[in-house]
Amino acid sequence: MIQILLWLPLAAGLVACLAPRRLTPMVATAGALGALVLALALLADFDPNAAGLQQVVDESWIPDLGVRYQLGIDGISIFLVVMTTVLWLAATAYSAIRTPDRPKTYFLMMGLGQTATLGAFLAQDLLLFVLFFDLMLLPMYFLIGGWGEGEGRVQATIKMIVYTLVGSLLMLVGAVATAVLVADGGQLSFSMADLRANVLPEDSQDWIFWFFAAAFLVKMPAFLVHGWMSDAYRAAPLPVLVCLSGVLAKVGAYGFLRIVLPTFPDATVQFQEVLLVIALASILYGSVMAFTQTEARLIAGYSSIAQLGFITLGIFTLRPDAANGAVLQMVNHGLVVAGVFLIFAVISERTGSSDITKLGGLASRAPVLAVLFLIVTMATLAIPGSSNFIGETYILIGAFQDKVVYAVIAFAGVVMAAYYALRMYQRTMHNRLPDGLESREISFGPGVIIGGLVACIVTLAVYPNLILKRSDDSVTATVAAAKQQDVDLAARTSETSP
């Protein structure tokens, strides 16, 4: 099943490519829908009380290099996979309604993107992960460059490629180095389980850690390596942005949990503070930037930097509670940011702009759109009662136990989120209607798509345990590995100090 899930989107993309032009969007949407159904079947099959991998596929692939075709799913990835299929379905369906130029290539690229992303979440072999991770870049490059908006789109894609490619190459080097050093002249193995079992000596961990961290931080993006974000977000077609911001950014955070923490536990403990500072800087900087922007894409973009800052904070607090919050928050943020981008897709389609200073008063004839937008806004600012609030609470309460100062400062981000999210809503839906704009209700198709996302948001708000209860065991086991090193380290220093 996991295999079909992985390759179905690409297959659907290929079929869509070959199908008559009229059917292309429908085939692609059907493929995305099929992927969602499979993901839900996986979820139904999922045993919440097992910490280890489930649905494992393990085939030898390149024996000389020790590369295996190894897939699996656990409590960390299960909901990320489900979210990926939900968001891709939303983006594909939305694109299908407003069929773009050259639909065949477009939908092929969408399918390829989904397969690559799912691959990254499912891969249990380090090299396989790296391969999928890099493969994600390719369709994004085409989609933004080929269907993007504005003169600057080529520039924007090149900037994005340069940034992420640098990160990816470093990671590739890191992956190879890890395997070679672990093998130590013996049989190479890229299997994550093997790498986890034979941890590298601390000094090697220290530099390889940063190779991986670079790739993941750029992908999220985190503070100071987010230079590609603003141009890419401005240029990308909005449905593509749903995938880029909603899902691809999460792969970075996921990589920390899946690879960095268990494979480089000593380095993780060693650089914990550095990563926490980066997380905090992302929260503050993202929030401050978000409230000076007027372009809705960038408000959402910078708020994503802040949100991923929270997620990083949760991961590197190295506590089960905070890390569970981080996993929950990855899903929450994906859903919310997808909602924002699709809503602005609807709005800018009619008004030709997603600049909030040029909008206003749209709520009067569009109560359904207003309500959907409102729920998404409230979830964005993590109002208590939303699942985002529970995510943030878990993250912050974990941080609060061990790193009080970080937690308290991070709260500034919570207050600022209230302002910039509400401002985005208010400037769009409320106040006077500018001349030349017309308030119209959302049409049926987009309404169903956004309504579906909102339904997911509301369901999680009512019952966040749905995710937490399944993520808990895997997350706790992952964090415990790093925590163990922490204890060892403390023991060692206390031995040596007297």
């Binding site: 692939w61 390149i62 024996p63 000389d64 290099l65 493969l135 490059y141 085409f142 460059g145 080929g146 900037k159 340069v162 940034y163 390596v225 230079g227 603003s230 900087y285 401050v288 930037m289 409230f291 000076t292 506590r319 089960p320 509670d321 569970n324 008063g361 709520a363 109560p367 309500v371 409230m378 600012l381 109002i383 208590p384 609030f389 529970i390 609470t393 912050l396 309460i397 609060f400 136990q401 937690a407 308290v408 709260f411 207050v415 600022m416 209230a418 302002y419 509400l422 208010q426 409320h430 106040n431 006077r432 019952y463 966040p464 345990n465 937490l468 209860k469 993520s471 997350v475 706790t476």
Partner: protein
């Protein structure tokens, strides 16, 4: 039935009402939405009475019940359930909230009849009541925070209900952001509590605190101060009060709801609910009490000079909440909560009467432009005077008994607490003056044109304009007027106001020193563990307090009579003579300007710096640096690249394909 079963019903009715109204926004004919909305709250009120009767069956010390619906978010050592706590305190609050809210809903059916957002209004209103009830009934701190934040959101939605008005949306935003600031205080308090006691459940917190905290231990004080940040933001105490006067941008029933039954009382409830912690942190409790007194004083001084009818009443709310905060902070729990109830009656009534007057004034709110409505609007004026009497604590009215109880308790507690007695009476004197500043200005004096027109049977109409800016309203969405209703012409409004007027006059008689003690005895089930709860107050002291209070109130009313009716020019002369002071008060002690200077401007400046300098030079600088390096490297292999997008793409595809092919071949 179990008391907790009733609690779930109390919550279910308004929530269901809100959702049903929202989903059926196109279906409900005429005023059906209004009746549905009113009905659900009335049902909630009945459920509260059911819970009350159940609880009364148990002995005083066994009147606390909890019940869990489902596990909300409980992993990794945290336990967060959806659970309720039903005890005398929560039932008492629910009675006040649902009772008063039913009347406000009823009033709104008349008041909002012609508003285009009629259904939307009732949906919001029901949601507001649901949020408040959730806050009150929550059995753990996280759920309490949820209710707390929902109240903040609901107030935002209702304050900016007429969302085409720039001033309304701005006011809504202000209320929301200040409330979120308060939420953060509360959440931090929750985190501290969790770290120290390892639980979020209220009853466990209270028993845990008694076991593990010593008096005035710094962590207990910190927790209480953080709780106070939340309480002050919600209850509009200094310096987090600036949103409350602006909240007058909402329709008048909203002001009534926010000020009487919901929202601002939440802070008072919070302090009362966490009394075991505050008694372990007397320093924090004293800070709260002093803030309450300062707020009561500052708000009263402002209420003496502002001219907007609704804003005068808004500042009076701040001032009265100050009394309640003093009460629950110094240990006069039953007195503070008693005042909460009597205040709910007369404040809701005052706003309703004001709404009726504003209707007759075609939406203008400046009291300098009003006068002589007593013949044109006899019913409205009678209820207005009743409300003002109760606010002024005139002997025999509801406000009289409750306010005195707080001040006498302070005196009896001795030590420095006499300050609150003296300060409280000074404020009470000012309260009487401004209460009748409203009463005399509106009802008596020479009839203005609108009043004369109304006497002739014609309701004054005017172009709908924003009373704050004079800007013409956008009539596309709902707006107040010109088809405004006055109480004289709408029976639902009249019924609601009559019920509240009855309460404003007589609700105080359920607790008269030396005669009966209904509220005190009932609340004992929540506060029996407090050492201060049964502080003996001799009847002689209580009666002395009542004499002082009654005298000051009467004096204040006489002063107002002299100032506004006998010598109407005096106030203008005073304004001229004390121009500096008047300006200072008219600018509301410059709190808005202070917050602007200390918070808003630095935040915006940081944002601009980040955007214009940091992002442009540092972050993009890195980009340029990286691309330069790549370009430099690229120049070497330029021959292989054509630089066009498609060629890049082609290159990448072939590259990947070749790579894939290689690995595939390797594998086989």
């Amino acid at each position: 039935m179990n008391p907790t079963a009733y609690a779930w019903l109390i919550l279910a009715f308004p929530l269901a009402g809100s959702i049903v109204l929202a989903l059926g926004w196109r279906i409900w004919p005429g005023r059906a939405a209004g009746w549905i909305g009113t009905g659900t709250i009335a049902l909630s009120f009945l459920a509260t009475i059911g819970a009350l009767l159940q609880v009364l069956d148990h002995p005083v010390e066994e009147r606390q019940f909890t019940d869990t619906l489902y596990s909300y978010a409980s992993v990794a050592g945290l336990k967060i359930d959806v659970n309720v706590l039903v005890d005398p305190l929560s039932i008492y609050m629910c009675l006040v909230i649902t009772g008063i809210s039913t009347m406000i809903h009823l009033y709104s059916i008349g008041y909002m009849t012609t508003d285009r957002g009629f259904t939307r209004f009732f949906s919001y209103l029901n949601f507001f009541v649901f949020s408040m009830l959730l806050l009150i009934l929550a059995g753990n701190l996280i759920l309490l925070v949820v209710g707390w934040a929902f109240v903040g959101y609901a107030s935002y939605a209702l304050i900016s209900f007429w969302y085409r008005r720039g001033t309304a949306t701005k006011a809504g935003m202000k209320a929301f952001v200040i409330n979120v600031f308060g939420d953060v205080g509360l959440i931090l308090a929750a985190f501290f509590i969790f770290r120290e006691l390892g639980t979020f459940d209220l009853l466990d917190i209270f028993s845990g605190a008694r076991d593990s905290f010593t008096t005035n231990q710094s962590v207990a004080v910190t927790i209480c101060l953080l709780l106070l940040v939340g309480a002050f933001a919600k209850s509009a105490q200094l310096p987090l009060h600036t949103w409350l006067p602006d909240a007058m941008e909402g329709p008048t029933p909203v002001s009534s709801l926010i000020h009487a039954a919901t929202m601002v009382t939440a802070g008072v409830y919070l302090i009362a609910r966490f009394f075991p912690l505050f008694e372990l942190a007397p320093t924090a409790a004293d800070i709260a009490a002093f803030t309450g007194l300062a707020t009561a004083f500052v708000a009263a001084t402002i209420a003496l000079v502002v001219t907007d009818l609704k804003r005068i009443i808004a500042y009076s709310t701040m001032s009265q909440i100050g009394y309640m905060v003093i009460g629950v902070s110094i240990g006069a729990y039953s007195a503070g909560l008693f005042h909460l109830m009597t205040h709910a009656f007369f404040k809701a009534l005052l706003f309703m009467a004001a709404g009726s007057v504003i209707g007759a004034m075609a939406n203008r709110q400046n009291i300098d432009k009003m006068g002589g409505f007593r013949r044109a609007m006899p019913f409205t004026c009678v209820t207005l005077i009743i409300g003002a009497l109760s606010l002024a604590a005139f002997p025999g009215t509801a406000g009289f008994f409750s306010k005195d109880e707080i001040l006498v308790f302070a005196a009896e507690r001795g030590g420095m607490y006499w300050i609150f007695t003296v300060g409280g009476y000074i404020v009470a004197f000012m309260t009487a003056i401004y209460a009748f500043r409203i009463g005399f200005r509106v009802a008596y004096g020479e009839a203005v044109e609108e009043a004369k027109e109304l006497e002739g049977g014609h309701l004054h109409h005017a172009e709908p304009a924003n009373p704050a800016t004079g800007e013409l309203e956008d009539t596309d969405v709902g707006f107040p007027g010109p088809e405004h209703n006055i109480a004289e012409r709408s029976w639902p409004m009249r019924i609601a106001m009559s019920v509240l007027a009855f309460g404003a006059l007589f609700a105080g008689w359920i607790q008269v020193p030396g005669i009966d003690d209904v509220v005190h005895n009932f609340l004992e089930g929540s506060f029996y563990s407090s050492s201060l709860y049964n502080l003996e107050i001799p009847n002689s002291a209580a009666y002395l307090g009542m004499i002082v209070g009654g005298t000051l109130s009467t004096l204040g009313i006489l002063v107002a009579y002299w100032l506004y009716l006998v010598r109407p020019g005096t106030t203008a002369a005073l304004q001229r003579r004390l121009r500096g002071l008047h300006g200072f008060l008219e600018h509301k002690w410059y709190f808005d300007e202070l917050i602007d200077l200390l918070v808003v401007r630095p935040a915006l400046a940081t944002g601009r710096f980040a955007n214009n300098v940091f992002e442009r030079y540092v972050v993009q600088g890195i980009v340029v640096g990286v691309t330069d390096v790549v370009r430099g490297a690229g120049a070497v292999v330029r021959g292989a690249q054509s630089g066009f997008l498609r060629s890049y793409a082609l290159l990448m595809v072939t590259g990947f394909a070749a790579l894939g092919l290689y690995f595939l071949l390797q594998a086989s």
